[in-house]
Amino acid sequence: MNGVVIGSGYALVAIGLTLVYGVLRVVNFSHGEVYMFGAYALVILMSDYHMGYLLAIVLVIMAGACAGPLIELVAVRPVEKQPRLKTLITTLGLSVTLSNLAILIFGASPRFVQAEVTERVLTVADFSIPVHRLIVVCVSSLLVCAVWGFVKYSLPGKAMRAVAENPGVTQLLGINPRAVVRETFALSTALAAASGALLSPLFVVNPFIGTLTGLKAFAVVILGGFGNVQGAILAGILLGVAESVATGMLGSSYQDTVTFSILALALLVRPRGLISEVQAENV
């Protein structure tokens, strides 16, 4: 159960990454930092401004959506004429800057969400379910469904898939690929911020969670196959469950070792992901 809750958070972060990769063939390394800022924003809104949990989440998601186009402007646009791999370096630089900026702003000591919502427990028959975990699963499945529907059926979503398929032809059809890229980034970081806000009551919030979560999201994206949204959902939940099983068996100190060993193995054995349908170029 715990694994599914954390896993759905990972899936949210990973969908954002995979969307951006699908449209632009770019790996956004600073994605995890958006998660971290989302978590901080929630802590501050709830602890310092005494805002309700759901209202705070909505605000964080809106702020997250603004962060995406900024990242694109700062780290992706300047190197758009260079090889795609350069974007990995620039977003890595941005990630270093952002996480250290967070240390300067928030301090290195961890913070916690202290609110009533994290302690409430719902008792059904003999099972007691923490309300917050229920909210995490519900909100993230809602968001995942919304994104999936958006990408599949709405006009901007169709434009995204068109740009992913062939940017040149899309431009001929009168769609501005730049605008599509901006929208994709906004959607992507909104999801990362949402995930940070949803999961922050479960963990401590410190400036270093972003990098680690970002790397785990990569594991999910690779397991699911780059650019594959369904794969990311499945792999996210799988990774969350694998992590909690490993923690139960080996102790929490091996949790990250397990995650990254899975990542390395997945890259070497099945670099196209568990569900291989997207043709990968880098293999």
């Binding site: 800057t97 996480s99 990542l263 990968a280």
Partner: protein, 325 residues
Amino acid sequence: MSKALKKWFVILPTGIALSMLLADAVDPYTLHLLILCSLFSMVALAQDVAFGRSGQLLICAGAFFAIGAYTSAIIALRIGAPFGTCLLAATLSASLAGYGIGWAATRVSGHYLAILSIAFSVIVHQVLLNWSSLTNGAQGLNNIPRPASFVFLDFSSKSTFFVVCIFALLTTIAAIHLISATRLGAGFAAIREDELAAQSLGISIRRVKISAIVISGAISGAAGSLYAHYQGLIAPEDFTFSQSVNSLMMVIIGGANTIVGPILGAILMTLLPEYLRAMAEYRWVIFGICIIVFTAILPSGIWGLVRLTYGKTRDFALKKRTAAG
């Protein structure tokens, strides 16, 4: 014996003599910084062999460095092996790790290889942290002995250790310089510019890639060994993922695919925070921004800019890259 090799038989002793003079002239604190500069220069040069010369975006120089440092320290503490043996074992174990990553590089490339190397960095750090019976966990290993006397030289003092570091750095530079003139060096450039074209010319991509990463690992491992014996105390916190990012930053800021560039980057990134105290707090924020600015505007780094401004460079690849940026 080739002319290039002969040249190094003059440069090496001269460099060592100069470093002896320098070691006596400066105060202990500056000497400490100089030793760190020379060690990190080696790591940056190693990173450049993989990244700048062969075009393989690896972010795991810190992991090779850690493997070298821990191998050396464990052998010295458990068996009491002399420094030379430790250094050799460290170089070998790090090149073995390099072989593993090199093998991986023949299977995946581009983004996938970069992420794989990051996973490797994180795994190495986690293993150092958790394999307590071997690495003593988060406390790390201490009381690693300084090298004892060798023939007539006594290496136990800081100033003589500096000479050892300079010797190691110069040997590294010589090795990289000599390799770049060989078929293998041409192979590095070939797979960097166009793998497909290189393959069509009969270059074994597999062999060249693995060689590049093994060489990179060996140099980092040797630097790690020296670091362990210099500091006397190593802990997993010295070898996090950000250590690997650092060495990439040194290469990018200094200038990739050169000898001077990575050294310049290493010196700048080691000394600036020490001498500009006001900057120390903001240094990572600034270095992070530098990465973006350099990659976007000045891909050939500081040394590339210097070469283009003062002096006629024949390096067309450099001109092309700068024009593209």
